[in-house]
């Protein structure tokens, strides 16, 4: 293409937390890059009227499951990518718990290739820490790094064996990547399907003790002290975990963490009707845990928000609570959910919210993204913070409908998602 492609986003409230910028301005994109932010006049550009909208760096989700390869009936990289841009996400990180697991360079390359072909959102992926995510032998981390993996995790399970985890962290010292952990000590909550507490007792369902999460997190923090490798705790769910992260950060350790929408919006009361749409791992906890997570977000202890978008077939979610798979598909409505959980009750403001969804998660995986800095790649999300809409899972681009938010009336509607200077979604 010899023609220069220009897009001018006019009159929006430009929120670029990395640059401390929050005012009404225009954004000019030329080719794939941010050309200018301010008062811009350019006759030759395609104009997007962003009046009344927030214009921010493209959103980044560090935790999605696109199920490919292996469970393409639930999601594919193609359908997941379309869901991502509909949710305003210009970059997502795919988890490696596919079938087979992403545990070698070929698989990493496959994910990236499918992502490029989908041509919607940037697809990153994490590789498995151990072969086949069995928690026994290290996977070929180095070769996966060469193929573009930006981190490693056995997500879906934690690495149970402390020696294996220590070895992984030590080995990772060779690379500039993050080791990400689904903290769950399976000796403490192996067969649990919900939070262990009064509700699990009266429902007669096996519970997962909060300690199962906290014990592994605490252990890992000790291992990080020894290795000083970047460590990311996924989907924090308990007040105890918040305390451990707080202290680790105070000690200056390179740890980060993420929080999902559902752990901010629901307590384990939600499962009282055995509705499997509320079956997630880690499980929904208590009101006190939600408070702890919110105050950690307010205090800046939490680094990023991540959906843990986990699509499943309706037929699987129709199973008994004991047997049904864990997860919620929420990528397409995530922004509105965070607004409901955090902005509407006044926990944080727009700028803080956007920070948690842009440059901060970019920092966790060590990519130079999530800003509107002039000259940077033009990933931009435009949304109307006041537009109300009803979440309708029937309209999801995702192949799955396991979403307890169906029918919710929410605000903050994605208008346009621009990835590398191309409009990939507009509503």
């Amino acid at each position: 293409m010899s023609d220069t492609k220009k897009i001018l986003i006019k009159g929006g409230r430009v929120v670029d937390p990395a640059n401390g910028f929050d005012e009404v301005a225009d954004v000019l994109i030329v080719d794939h890059k941010i050309e200018a932010v301010g008062s811009v006049k350019d006759a030759g550009a395609e104009v997007i009227d962003a009046n009344g909208c927030i214009v921010c760096p493209g959103l980044i989700d560090l935790h999605v499951h696109f199920r490919e390869p292996g469970d393409e009936e639930e999601e594919t990289i193609f359908s997941g990518s379309a869901a991502a841009v509909a949710g305003g996400f210009t970059s997502v990180v795919c988890m490696p718990n596919t079938k087979p697991a992403i545990d070698d360079e070929t698989s990493v390359e496959y994910i990236h290739r499918m992502g490029r072909q989908a041509r919607k959102t940037f697809i990153y992926c994490m590789g498995a820490i151990t072969k086949d995510r069995k928690g026994e032998e290290l996977a070929e981390m180095g070769l996966m790094v060469k193929a573009g993996a930006i981190g490693f995790t056995d997500d879906g399970a934690g690495v149970q064996n402390a020696a294996v985890m220590l070895r992984a962290l030590k080995y990772a010292q060779m690379f500039d990547i993050v080791i990400s952990q689904h903290c769950h000590d399976s000796s403490l909550g192996s067969n649990g399907v919900m939070n262990s507490g009064y509700n699990s007792t009266i429902l007669g369902l096996p519970g997962m003790d909060p300690l199962a999460e906290e014990m592994m997190l605490w252990r890992d923090v000790q291992l990080v002290k020894k290795t000083n490798v970047r460590y990311h705790a996924q989907h924090l769910s308990t007040a105890g975990s918040v305390k451990i992260i707080r202290e680790a950060k105070a000690d200056g350790l390179p740890v980060s963490c993420e929080v999902t929408p559902h752990h901010l919006l629901f307590t384990d009361d939600a499962v009282m009707d055995y509705d499997t749409n509320f079956k997630v791992n880690p499980p929904l906890r208590t009101a006190a845990d939600i408070e702890a997570l919110k105050s950690a977000i307010k205090d800046g202890v939490v680094d990023c928000l991540a959906t843990d978008h986990a699509p499943h077939l309706q037929s699987e979610k129709e199973l008994e609570f004991l047997t049904a798979p864990c997860g919620i598909a929420s990528l397409e409505c995530a922004l509105a959910l965070y607004v409901r959980a955090l902005v509407e009750p006044g926990v944080i403001g727009w700028s803080e919210l956007i920070a948690l969804m842009t440059y901060k998660p970019a920092g966790v995986i060590g990519v130079d993204k999530g800003t509107l800095t002039v000259g940077s790649r033009a990933d931009v999300t435009i949304f109307d913070p006041d537009a109300e809409y009803v979440i309708d899972t029937e309209k999801f681009y995702s192949k799955s409908r396991n979403c307890p938010y169906d029918g919710w009336k929410v605000s903050a509607k994605i208008k346009t998602t621009i990835v590398a200077g191309e409009i990939r979604y507009s509503n």
Binding site: S190, N191, S196, G197, Y198, S200, T201, I202, L203, G204, L205, G207, D209, D273, Y274, L313, S315, E316, E318, L319, E320, F321, L322, T323, A324, P325
Partner: protein, 319 residues
Amino acid sequence: MIRRNTKFNWKRKHLLSLRDLSRQELEHIFETAKGFEQFSTRSIKKAPTLRGKVMVNMFFEDSTRTRISFSLAASRLSADIVDFTKKSSSVSKGETLIDTARNLEAMGIDIVVIRHNAGGAAKLLSRSINACVVNAGDGFNEHPTQGLLDVYTIVKEKGSLEGLKIGIVGDIAHSRVARSNIWAMTKLGAEVTLVGPPTLMPAKVDQLPVNVSYNLDDVIENLDVINMLRIQFERMGGNPFPSVREYSHFFGLTVERAQRAKPGMLVMHPGPINRGLEMESEVADGEKSVILKQVANGLAIRMAVLFLVNQAAMQEGKK
């Protein structure tokens, strides 16, 4: 004796749990069961009440007694009975419980009696099909007809539960019988004490409307009723107590312990008994034992339940 008619409109076409039921509903079931008791002594042990109705026993777990009891109850009410037994699978893809039930329903069934290893399975079923659903035990959630027959037995022996001190001994954490017992007994005014090792108590047991004791000898002398739960090795993970021998030593109902109890204390057990483990044979067969009466009452209770859920379904007029 002539009682004035107390009109009560039973509205539930499913019996899923006793936690849902009001005291009045519990009493209505007992009142109804009373009318069914004489059936066992009649020459023709049958009434045409559910003639033309089909009841399916969907049992995903082994059970002989409960299934036979439901079958007998249904046959005494002239319903047709179909048995469906299958080991439940733990895989998430394949034919689901709901598929199975919808298939059966397509053949025109009226009442499903379900036993399943997953808590909430009965409720799941009730949401998915039109037929009446009766929970015959779901995981360690509830076993409502067992709870009803236990309480009915006590009512018949003691007149009422008001103020009675009842001990439930054993594996509370994994017991659906314990849960159904707790809800029904406390609603009817009994003071319930759970007895067992801490490793067999459920999470946040202190929030249940019960007392908890780790020492059977401390409480045995005060009890009016003792319900000895079956130790269900198949449900427990790990080994929650060091050995059967040690368990029996602390929590078994021995002859010696039974002798220290009040003379009128009722000894109950949901069966089948692990003789010598939960209780010694002399106690199980002794004069305090009402274990066989529980079984007999179970039949009347199950007839009452089948009758009532069908009645509610008829009134709902959906079928």
